[in-house]
């Protein structure tokens, strides 16, 4: 059994007469992204502040690698603190410092590095977050979304081992929201940090998290994988998750995943009662990592958004299209078997051009590479099994490149 990196044992915290944390027990594992979801004002930020030591619990213990934080000596705490980074909900940017000074501050104050190296690292982080060119502006001269990205760049500057994100995507448009989420996921894979994210972005946050914890009335109501929480029969959990569900994605007209699940059940009923076939198609953007290397994270997400838009224009009103992960789109085609589904994809591949995705291309010879998996539903199919078949390596794929 894995030992948690951070273990919260029976944490209580009261502000005046208001008990915010009422016996929280939570495990955070190394190299994973753990997301804390829950109602606004439910104590999620308070919980994060306990983890980083900004607040002391009234009762209970916080353990790091099994050592209680309260028993650590000053030098030990200092070493531990250097492993952390925190992104505040309200950004907490220094309003009298410029964007560059804000981003560079953690390194300037805590590391012995030449100015040139600090400048290089800051420029790299700012480029990833699409804020380059604003170095000399002050936070008050930026939009809310830009401030968020400056705060994120600052949090990532020291390449910390544990990063606590307090609502990192609130106030961002859908494309930038996904870019930030994919950046968190990408950086986590690249550097292997442990992430604790407080977020309301359901279901997007499920795609980048390995574990989800739901906070309700000061207690942890659920702790498990994103798949487990989506299958949870607990009414509070289901209401919370699906309470966020909108019929269509605000930006691209894509449907979100729970909607596809509903559509799947409806089509399954039609298949069982009237023998009307339907198929599931999964589009995977294969070289999204190359885009991340050559351009910003936002470029990768723009490609996915534009592919979704293109698909949306071609499908019938009864079909539904949804994102499956950071680089995948799932499409449910009604009245179609595998052959017809494949024909649809061939038609799409013929119509689509590189300019439809992103302008300009990351490099002149860059090709957008996609693979497509198909699965035709049978009477006893489940959504999971159908997705598995469509994604299975034994399933003959259709691949196309747009150059």
């Amino acid at each position: 059994m894995k030992t948690p990196l951070i273990q919260l044992n029976d944490i209580y915290k009261t502000f005046g007469a208001n008990r915010v944390l009422d016996g929280i027990t939570l495990s955070i594992y190394q190299g994973e992204i753990t997301t804390i979801i829950g109602k606004s004002g439910g104590g999620k930020s308070v919980l994060l502040k306990h983890i980083i030591g900004l607040l002391e619990p009234d009762a209970g213990h916080i353990l790091f690698n099994g050592h209680p934080l309260s028993e650590m000596k000053r030098p030990e705490r200092k070493i531990l603190k250097r492993k952390f980074s925190y992104m505040f909900q309200g950004n907490a940017l220094f309003d009298s410092l410029t964007v560059y000074e804000n981003v560079a501050l953690p390194l300037k104050e805590t590391a012995v590095l030449p100015e040139k190296e600090i400048r290089r690292r800051a420029a790299e982080k700012m480029a990833h977050l699409d804020i380059l060119g604003n170095e000399d502006k002050y936070p008050s001269q930026l939009s809310g979304g830009m401030r968020k990205r400056v705060a994120l760049a600052r949090a990532l500057m020291t390449d910390p081992e544990i990063i606590l994100f307090d609502e990192p995507t609130t106030g961002l448009d859908p494309i930038r929201k996904n870019a930030v989420l994919s950046m968190i996921s990408d950086y986590q894979k690249k550097f292997g940090f442990t992430g604790v994210v407080v977020s309301h972005e359901i279901p997007d946050i499920f795609y980048i998290s390995q574990r989800i914890a739901m906070l309700n009335d000061g207690r942890i109501l659920f702790e498990g994988s994103p798949e487990e929480i989506q299958r949870s029969p607990v009414t509070e959990i289901r209401n919370f998750i699906y309470g966020y569900e909108a019929p269509q994605g605000a930006y691209s007209g894509r449907n979100n995943q729970p909607y596809v699940e509903r559509r799947f059940l409806q089509e399954m009923a039609r298949l069982q009662n009237h023998d009307i076939a339907f198929s599931l198609v999964i589009f995977t953007f294969d070289n999204i990592d190359e885009i991340y290397e050559h351009a910003e994270h936002i470029a990768g997400q723009t490609v996915i958004e534009n592919l979704a838009l293109k698909i949306r224009h071609k499908i019938a009103i009864t079909d539904s299209c949804s994102r499956l992960g950071l680089n995948k789109i799932v499409l449910l085609i009604t009245n179609a078997d595998r052959v017809q589904a494949r024909a649809f994809c061939e038609g799409l591949a013929r119509d689509i051009q590189a300019n439809d995705f992103i302008k300009p291309k990351p490099s002149p010879d860059f090709c957008f590479s996609f693979s497509v998996g198909f699965a035709q539903a049978t009477r006893d199919s489940s959504l999971e099994s159908l997705l598995e078949t469509a994604e299975s390596s034994s399933n003959p794929f259709y691949q196309f490149k747009v150059c």
Partner: protein
């Protein structure tokens, strides 16, 4: 029984009223010593200290010159009409110089800096506290007291004596304007009295006061801003305004109390 509980309650209230200021004073003393110690912790924050010297010192020069000139002129005027009654108007230079160097220079400089820079310090740090900027420093493993308070203490220790010296010189010239140029005292007599009456002990005493005032002003103003969030009678921007007001009032009162204590020691 009722009498007993009333007595008990009164003792409790009295105890609380005594303990609370003592605790606050203790907290402020610890805060001051951390700020002072971190001036010397490596790497030295030279750039930030220079920045604060510019803010506390350089930007106060105009207001100090203006205040000093009129204070000296008033002293010259009042002194002349008092001394002329005894036929000793020739002592005006000594009266103006001693009043300024020993008392008015350090005290008025401190009070002017409180109004100009002390209130700004309390407000700036207070806003940083309520907008979580101080918490952000802590999460980045940057000591907030070292980052925010130490450069200000160092800058005040350098700026206050220099501003006091400037105040003294301008004030003496102010006295000369009214005493000699307007009321006709011989300029040679005026400056000879200044030279003969002011001794090194007076100057060092005045500078000692300005150093103590620098420590008092910066500690109180930074402390009030730093702990804005613990204000019980106002939160957010109201809390900042209350801390700024109380920082200015408390600094002024403490400067005057410290002045009396130091004068009684130095004389």
């Amino acid at each position: 029984m009722a009498i007993l509980s009333t007595v008990k309650l009164s003792v409790c209230v009295l105890g609380q009223m005594t303990m609370s200021p003592v605790q606050r004073l203790g907290k402020m003393t610890v805060f001051f010593f951390w700020g002072l110690i971190h001036i010397f912790s490596l790497p030295l924050q030279i750039y930030k200290i220079v920045e604060q010297i510019f803010f506390i010192g350089m930007k106060s020069v105009f207001v100090i010159c203006l205040t000093a000139a009129f204070t000296g002129m008033v002293l010259g005027l009042q002194g002349y009409y008092t001394l002329v009654k005894f036929g000793s108007e020739g002592m005006l230079g000594a009266a103006v110089a001693l009043s300024l160097v020993r008392e008015m220079g350090p005290v008025l400089t401190a009070i002017m800096v409180i109004g100009r820079a002390g209130s700004a310090m309390a407000a700036e740090i207070g806003i940083m506290r309520i907008s979580e900027q101080i918490d952000a420093l802590e999460t980045m493993d940057i000591n907030p007291v070292r980052y925010l308070v130490s450069p200000r203490i160092a800058a005040a220790l350098i700026s206050f004596p220099l501003l006091t010296a400037l105040f003294d010189v301008i004030g003496i010239f102010g006295g000369y304007i009214t005493g000699s140029l307007l009321l006709g005292i011989n300029p040679g007599v005026y400056f000879a009295r200044v030279e003969s009456s002011v001794v090194m002990k007076d100057i060092s005493g005045g500078f000692s006061k300005s150093i103590v005032f620098a420590l008092v002003v910066v500690t109180v103003c930074c402390f009030k801003g730093y702990f804005t969030h613990l204000q019980t009678d106002g939160f957010g921007s109201k809390g900042v305004s209350l801390s700024t007001t109380s920082a200015v009032v408390l600094s002024c009162v403490l400067v005057l109390i410290a002045d009396y204590v130091l004068t009684s020691i130095l004389l």
